[in-house]
Structures are given as C-alpha cells and as structure tokens.
C-alpha cells in the first residue's frame, strides 16, 4: 500500500468535509482508482465525477496517471458543482 495526499477545494472540500485527506491505495494505482475509492466513501462526489480535473504534484494530470507514494494530488472542480453543493 502507498499513502497519497489528496487536497480538496471548493465544492469537493465541502463534500468531504476536509481540506486534505491521506488515502491508502495499492501500489500502481491510478487517479481513476483513487476517484473510485473516494466516490465510495463520499457518494455525493458521484455527481461531480464527470467534470473533475486532477493535479499531481501541482500539474494537471490525466485520469489514467499512475500514482506513486507521497504524490500530492488535488481534486479540481472546474465548473459549477450544481445548486445543491
């Protein structure tokens, strides 16, 4: 397992209730797996899933990017999160 630091902003921060999470993921996991994991824990993230951007170590990154131990990931909600968030 590896530890991934996930920073949360704006609507995401309000849904997860924290500015930062530290998530344990199997070695070789991708952003996509991280997102699936978070959506299970925070079902309200589902609605935003299609519009989210990601950064890894302060650079925008594609959803299939493989993560490594101590990567600094951020979930970047790009546009309106809907009237309910």
């Amino acid at each position: 397992m590896m530890k991934i630091r996930v920073r949360c902003f704006a609507s995401i921060r309000e849904i997860v209730g924290a500015y930062e999470l530290v998530v344990d993921l199997p070695e070789g996991s991708t952003l996509n797996q991280l997102l699936r994991d978070l959506c299970e824990r925070f079902p309200r993230l589902q609605a935003l899933r299609g519009s989210l951007l990601f950064s890894v170590n302060r650079e925008y990154a594609a959803i299939d990017t493989t993560l490594t131990e101590e990567d600094d990931v951020a979930l970047i909600p790009p546009v309106s999160g809907g009237a309910d968030v």
Binding site: A10, A74, I76, P78
Partner: protein
C-alpha cells in the same frame, strides 16, 4: 509579481512592478464583484485558491505570453477570502514597448487565468449559492 492575497487590490503596485524604460504601454485588467450574475442578486463572493499550484500556473501564463508577444513584464495578483460587491478579485498588468502587444497579452492573461489557475469562487446570492472554478480548457 505573482501573488495570492487576502488584502484589497490596487493597480499602482502592479504598474510599478511591470514598468521598464522600454515600456510605451501598460494594459491592465481588474475583475470586480458585480451585483448581478446570470440574473441573480449577488450578496458576496468567497474566493479560495490552491496557492502552491496557482502561483506556478500564473508564471506559466506569463511564459506563454512572452512566446507570443513582445512584452516587458507581466504581473498578476488574485485576492482570496470574502469579497463584497465592487471589490476587485483579480488584477493583471502587462507592459510592452507597443500598445497592441500590451493589450492583446492582457486579454490573453485573464482568459488563461480563468482556464488554468486553480482558484474558485463561491457565489452567494440572495437565494442560494454555487461554486465556480477554472474552466480547464487545457484538458478538454
């Protein structure tokens, strides 16, 4: 000069920061909180930034500008926290020998800032609220 601040924005410090003896033109842009957005009455805005990424992204935009136009300097400052109607959320200044370069680069800077710099605003209206963030055109 690339900053995120919780203080009120003024243009003069940006102008001083970008002015060179070669500068014949300084174009600036101020984003201001307006009372109405998409037909709804704004009460106030709340800005939030991913600071460690936002500053490098501002520098990246300045680099793009230097490759496209002949400019002297670029400055960008974004405010965070609660902003009332009439307060400035973002200030940009671009100096150049010639006005066409300064003006075009200034317009490009604000467009790109809204696309790729990770800063969000929560619009708080009289009847609800909503988060708005970077449009992320780079990614799509």
């Amino acid at each position: 000069m690339f900053e995120i601040t919780d203080q009120a924005l003024f243009l003069e410090p940006l102008i001083a920061a970008v002015k060179r003896s070669s500068s014949g033109a300084i174009a600036t842009f101020l984003g201001v909180v307006r009372e109405e957005t998409r037909g709804r009455q704004v009460r106030y805005l709340e800005y939030e930034a991913y600071r460690e990424m936002a500053i490098p992204k501002m520098r990246e935009i300045a680099g793009e500008i230097r490759r496209r136009w002949k400019v002297d300097e670029v400055a960008m400052v974004h405010r965070v926290g609660r902003l009332e109607i009439g307060e400035a959320s973002v200030a940009i200044a671009v100096s150049a020998p010639h006005r066409q370069d300064a003006l075009a680069a200034c317009g490009y800077a604000i467009d790109r800032l809204k696309e790729i710099v990770p800063i969000w605003k929560k619009e708080v209206w009289t009847d609800g609220e909503e988060w708005v963030g970077p449009s992320g055109c780079e990614q799509h």
